[in-house]
Amino acid sequence: MSAWLEVQGLGKRFGESGRPVLENVSFSVDRGEFLALIGPSGCGKSTLLHIVAGLSRSTTGTVRLNGVPVESPRREMMFVFQQYSKSIFPWKTVLDNVLLGIRYQPDAGSRVAMERRARDQLELVGLAEFADYRPYQLSGGMQQRVAIARALVRRPDILLMDEPFSALDAMMRADLQDLLRRLWRELGLTVVFVTHDLDEALYLAQRVLVLSAGPGRIARTVPVPLPEARGQVETRSDPVYLDLRSELFRAMTGSTREVHPA
């Protein structure tokens, strides 16, 4: 199946006469694909992801999932926010945060079934022993794991991730990247991952879209023909990776130069 999630001619401006943030953005995502969106800060990539998620409205164009226009958040798509400390509610325990993902779903079954399902997700992200902790007792990386568990408990087809690891230190970021790759492969997820870090984009994705700034447009589409079994050391020293990195770097800096002519 192709063109499962389809973005067509998307444009966004804030206010009637405001400068356009996004202009004529079109791309599609296949089922099971791992797509990264990168671009310089202010290129509207986060806005784009919010529109895809149905959290924000576009000025022009459409987002379709399975042919149906997306106008508000859909159950098949879960959003993972950059600000995990806000997205995870501090007044709830880790388990209750995950449970919140399903506790109002009429088809989620009994309280016991729900709790088992929530604990399974915590197990999946390596937080089984932390169910009764409060978020502020956990590190940033662990908090973002809770957010991922809460997204997964709803059994989504698609994860929309908005710079989810950018606030973490390097080691934690590497751990979470590997966790995400594993979850993506094991659960057959589709991931749309926004980042400003081209190394992260290359390491994670099968295809990278480069957005230019002012207004945001798709400047390049770069397939990533790296083996699917990736490792922090091997992949990052693979000649293919290094070539792609140079190419992406040029594409990124080229697009910034367009915005700020010297």
Binding site: H50, F79, F81, Q83, K86, F89, R134
Partner: protein, 261 residues
């Protein structure tokens, strides 16, 4: 040596209680040896009067009279203020409609409502309850809506992606997120409610701590007057301690995450 004392003063809270004891001793000695006036009785005489009125149950009766007036007015203020504050914080249109009115009414000192209330609801219990209610309303209302308005966009977006309805969003997000601020408003109002209850009782009443204290002064029962003030101090102190205890239970997450425990 002096460093040891300084260290002890920095660590121990006993010094604060020591100061209170010292002041009471100063009062006692000055009343015995320096000032010979019926307006300045020794502390022991005040305590005597205090114990006497506590034991015969008359003081308890006044305490209860004050307590229920205060709590009824305060309780109504909390319910109304929190409900209206939640709605104002959440619904922008309601905020725009009511906020200017609130800002105009808010600076009016509570006691200024008194003459109006006497005209409209008379001088009975209703007057005191409404007086307490009006004065306690605004801290709860203001803190509640600023608490709700401070909720981050990311948190609302989270609720939306989790498919929560408006009612579920209130329950799972808005109310808990605003609860630290609601409780701050409630604590401010608690102190105000006691002030206004006492004031109402001093204006016109036949019972209550305000009445007891003022009557003692007017009938030159000076030790009783001080005993009334002692009672008020203890009463206010206990209410606040009780409140802090409840607060610590209700929003432990907030106190812990902001490093206040």
């Amino acid at each position: 040596m002096s460093r040891a004392i300084a260290g002890w003063l920095a660590r121990s809270r006993l010094s604060g209680f020591g100061l209170i004891l010292l002041l009471l001793c100063g009062w006692q000695l000055s009343a015995l040896y320096l000032v010979d006036s019926p307006t300045w009785p020794p502390v022991t005489r005040v305590i005597e009067a205090w114990v006497e009125h506590l034991l015969d149950g008359s003081l308890l009766q006044h305490i209860l009279a004050t307590l229920w007036r205060q709590m009824l007015g305060y309780g109504l203020a909390v319910v109304l203020g929190a409900a209206l504050g939640l709605a104002m914080g959440y619904y922008r249109a309601l905020f725009n409609l009511l906020e200017p009115l609130v800002e105009i009414l808010r600076p009016i000192p509570g006691p200024a409502y008194l003459p109006v209330l006497v005209l409209f609801v008379g001088i009975g219990n209703e007057m005191k309850v409404v007086l307490v209610l009006l004065a306690s309303l605004f801290p709860v209302l203001l803190n509640t809506y600023s608490g709700v308005r401070a909720i981050d966009r990311v948190q609302y977006d989270t609720a939306r992606t989790l498919g929560l309805t408006t009612a579920q969003t209130f329950r799972e997000l808005v109310l808990p997120a605003a609860s630290p601020q609601i409780l701050t408003g409630m604590r401010i109002s608690l102190a105000i409610s006691l002030i206004l209850a006492i004031l109402g009782e001093m204006i016109v009443s036949t019972d209550g701590l305000g009445y007891f204290t003022l009557l003692a002064q007017r009938t030159f029962k000076v030790p009783e007057m001080y005993a009334g003030i002692f009672t008020l101090a203890a009463f206010g102190y206990l209410l606040n301690r009780l409140f802090l205890l409840c607060e610590a239970r209700l929003i432990r997450w907030h106190l812990e995450s902001s490093g206040r425990v």
